[in-house]
């Protein structure tokens, strides 16, 4: 990823991994966990669980550990990128493919195994062919079907294939002359319920004889006795101290950070010590600043509200009682985290980042706190004790302004009367937990313009809509604007989910095409299994610029399945009419400007003109409709 050496770097969800990343952006805020990991990398032999909550910095910690020690894994298993069914067939298939790859790379003698013939004697005569079947180098319908069939066979013979994987692993160890080092990444994307959790336990059994680093979510650290994870050594990645979060945000702003120190202090406090949440807050704050009508205090409130929308709207919620207890005691009991599957348990709170864990070293209790972004949702409707209010008021105080001077919109649109300051704050802080607020297209572009529509960035947005008829014009407008900055190709696909459909294969195929912006419209009604699998594929999207178009009524039922995915996406709800936010006159002005700059078809100017013409046509038609209506 291209970095600005001195200025602003606001990408999200992308772990730091290069020398330049570390030099410009790294803050050593996970000292104890980093030191434990280094020690294990250098001298450990047995498996270890490295666990933290979503966005806590696990991937960066691991990449930095590899970088600092020079100890790179012999095999890397991406459980979050290639699964089709979230069952043991998937997980064993991924493990088998990587094991074969490592064996072939090391010229390991595999003559004592007969898997190619056993798994599909008709088609696979040798190990290379089996590997190609498990991990196709080219995506086609045939390769997809072949892989699906193979994974099914593996699932039916899971115990045998598992033993074969261990056997091949031991041969690799002999060849390497040291303990086989396996990095099992992406387990953190799975919670501890459902079939996937059982399959993961099985895969942990297969990998336990090796030096395996399991990247897990904090919820996996609280596994029940009897689970394989229960007895494994663990490294916990805790919430980060606010001062360190502020340092991280300062680094992200480079030379532009100094004038914003007070605001960054407020954002760091609101992050609850979660680095990704802090970055998303900063990103929204930077976007909010583009609106000249708002004050700084109001921009902070908008950043908090938008971040809360992205991460928590329609998410499965823990019970208010649990949240209140955590708030009062700053602890959570081990017994609560061991309870089985009730949706309102502590595990839901922990997996969804409703609470943020500071310390997991205690025997019976762990130190925790409610996530400041959602704390007020669980409080009584009193303005005075919510952390967001406190943060805003503290900002006002340190900036030398009164709470009333925070500058929230002062007049009631209906009555024209001035609102009381506490009413204004409450409106801002209480909105948005339940559903995202509607934005017009230029507001969406204000955010996307900075974040998404640039080749240097690979950010993603979900755009929900009620009125499908406007989406084509809206897309054309965004593509046109993207090309006013630089030449960008885009592709759009309508992908249908639901019974009898294979939407994940369709997405995989679509993403194998080469373009700059991938735009996907979600058609049909995707079922829970399809949505769950998509959620686990989060890291497949990290390197892509994406726009997802989803009907709002569908989004309400999709978002609860996307605890992981929503970490990568900003969520917008598009207003139902475009005439209010973009005028035909402005589009014409843009068209006139660009029309005589077009010199060839494959150019940004040509893309701008073609897309603006579509928008203009839509707007002119819509205007005629309005005039006649």
């Amino acid at each position: 990823m291209k970095r600005n050496r001195f200025g602003i770097n606001l990408d999200e969800g992308v772990p730091l991994e290069s020398e330049e990343d570390y030099e410009i952006l790294f803050v050593d805020f996970l000292g104890e966990a980093a030191s434990k990991l280094r020690s294990w990398l250098e001298s450990g032999n047995d498996p270890v669980l490295l666990g933290g909550q979503i966005g806590s910095g696990k991937s960066t910690l691991i990449a930095k550990g590899f970088h600092d020690t020079g100890r790179l894994p012999d095999m890397v298993l991406h459980f979050d990128r290639e699964s089709l069914n979230l069952d043991i067939g998937d997980f064993l298939g991924i493990t088998l493919a990587e094991t074969i790859k490592a064996a072939l790379l090391g010229n390991v003698d595999l003559s004592s195994f007969n898997l190619p013939a056993e798994l599909n004697p008709g088609q696979f005569g040798d190990w290379n062919a089996l590997l190609e079947g498990l991990s196709p180098s080219v995506f086609t319908m045939k390769s997809f079907e072949t892989r699906k069939q193979l994974l099914k066979t593996i699932a039916e013979n899971a115990e045998y294939v598992g033993k074969a994987v261990v056997g091949i692993g031991k041969h690799i160890e002999t060849s390497l002359g040291h303990r086989l080092f396996v990095f099992a990444s992406g387990i953190d994307k799975f919670d501890t319920t459902g079939a996937a959790a059982i399959a993961l336990n099985d895969i942990a059994t297969v990998l336990s004889p090796f030096k395996t680093l399991f990247e897990v979510n904090a919820v996996h650290l609280f596994s029940k006795p009897g689970s394989l994870f229960h007895s494994v050594e663990r490294i916990f990645v805790p919430a980060v101290k606010e001062e360190a979060v502020k340092d991280m945000l300062l680094k992200r702003l480079g030379v532009y950070g100094k004038p914003l120190e007070i605001e960054l202090t407020a954002l760091a406090e609101c992050s609850g010590g979660n680095p990704r949440q802090a970055l998303r807050l900063l990103s929204h704050y930077e976007s909010a600043r583009k609106n000249r009508e708002r004050s700084t205090g109001e921009n902070l409130a908008v950043a908090m509200r938008e971040t809360r929308n992205d991460f928590f709207s329609y998410a499965p919620k823990p019970s208010a009682e649990l949240m209140k207890m955590v708030k009062q005691t700053h602890k959570i009991g081990a017994n609560l985290l061991m309870l089985p599957g009730d949706k309102e348990t502590a595990l839901t709170a922990l997996y969804g980042n409703w609470i943020l864990l500071d310390d997991a070293s205690g025997k019976d209790h762990w130190v925790t706190a409610p996530n400041p972004l959602v704390d007020s949702y669980f409080q009584d409707k009193s303005m005075q004790d919510g952390p967001e209010t406190r943060i805003l008021l503290s900002y006002a105080e340190s900036s030398g302004i009164s709470a009333a001077g925070l500058g929230l919109p002062r007049y009631d649109a209906a009555t024209g009367k001035e609102k009381m300051p506490d009413q204004l704050l409450w409106e801002y802080l209480s909105s948005g937990v339940e559903q995202p607020i509607q934005s017009n297209l230029t507001e969406v572009l204000d955010v996307l313009g900075a974040a998404l529509l640039s080749k240097d960035r690979s950010d993603r947005a979900i755009i929900a809509f009620n009125d499908k008829s406007i989406t084509e014009a809206a897309r054309a407008y965004l593509f046109a604007k993207a090309n006013t900055y630089e030449y960008q190709r885009h592709r759009h696909a309508v992908i249908k989910g639901g019974a009898g459909e294979e939407p994940l294969a369709a997405i995989e195929e679509f993403l194998s095409e080469t373009t700059d912006i991938y735009s996907i419209e979600f058609d049909g009604t995707w079922d829970a299994r399809q949505l769950d699998i998509l959620d686990k594929h989060r890291d497949n999207f990290i390197s892509k610029q994406m726009l997802w178009w989803i009907p709002l009524d569908k989004l309400r039922s999709y978002l609860p399945h996307w605890t992981q995915l929503r970490q990568l996406f900003e969520v917008f709800v598009l207003e139902d009419e475009l005439l209010g936010s973009i005028s035909p006159e402005n589009i014409e002005a843009d068209l006139v400007f660009f029309e005589d700059l077009v010199e060839h078809v494959q150019s940004s100017e040509s893309n701008v003109v073609n897309n603006l013409k579509k928008v203009l046509e839509y707007l002119q038609t819509a205007r005629i409709g309005v005039d006649r209506g």
Partner: protein, 210 residues
């Protein structure tokens, strides 16, 4: 030849070779290249708005969060330039260059037959001084005071060429010392070559990154 006369010829060359883009299409391209270059030159995440416009008027805008300001310009067909430097607290500074008013024309005074002699006698330090006076440190200037950047942004007060004015803002509003220093070196090289070969500098080269 007198040093000031040599520098006057150099000044005229810098203007002609870098800051007179010609017809409307060239002006559009020039301004587009300028605006598109700012994001990377200032190391910011914001994209520009525009340039766009019709009937010969071109407008554009970009934010610069270091100074908490936005920069907006409007260049009309007759050469009238309107620039806004607006602070987020609501205060806005306007800068206008109005072609209805007179400025002395060096080209009318200098004897063009002596240009080659002047260029032949010029030294690198002369070009450095001319570039500094045009854009890095204009003789008359306003300062923007900002944390860690006191007395370094110099907004020129006597620049009548709209393209030079906008281009000097690119340098002056960049808060990154390393980039400012590198840009000085890059532009010296670029203009020295252009002056010695008497060739126009295209917009892409002028707006390249240091």
């Amino acid at each position: 030849m007198d040093k000031d006369l040599i520098r006057s010829f150099l000044w005229e060359d810098v203007m002609n070779l870098g800051f007179y883009p010609g017809d409307l299409k060239s002006k559009k391209k020039w301004l587009r290249a300028l605006l598109s270059s700012l994001r990377e030159f200032w190391d910011i995440s914001e994209h520009q708005e525009g340039p766009c416009g019709k009937e010969g008027t071109i407008t554009g805008r970009i934010d610069n969060s270091h100074f908490n300001i936005w920069l907006k310009f409007e260049l009309r067909e007759n050469g009238y330039l309107h620039v806004e430097l607006g602070h987020i607290d609501g205060r806005v500074l306007f800068y206008h260059s109005d072609p209805d008013y007179f400025v002395p024309q060096l080209s009318k005074i200098l004897d063009n037959k002596q240009r080659n002699i002047a260029i032949g006698e010029s030294e690198t330090t002369d070009i450095e001084l001319v570039l500094a006076s045009c854009m890095f440190h204009p003789r008359e200037h306003l300062h923007i005071v900002a944390p860690d950047f006191d007395h370094q942004a110099r907004i020129g007060g006597g620049i009548s060429n709209p393209f030079l004015y906008l281009f000097h803002l690119r340098y002056q509003l960049c808060p990154i010392p390393q980039k400012r220093e590198a840009e000085k070196g890059r532009l010296l090289e670029l203009f020295r070559n252009a002056i010695y070969s008497n060739s126009r500098i295209n917009a892409e080269d002028l707006m390249a990154q240091p």
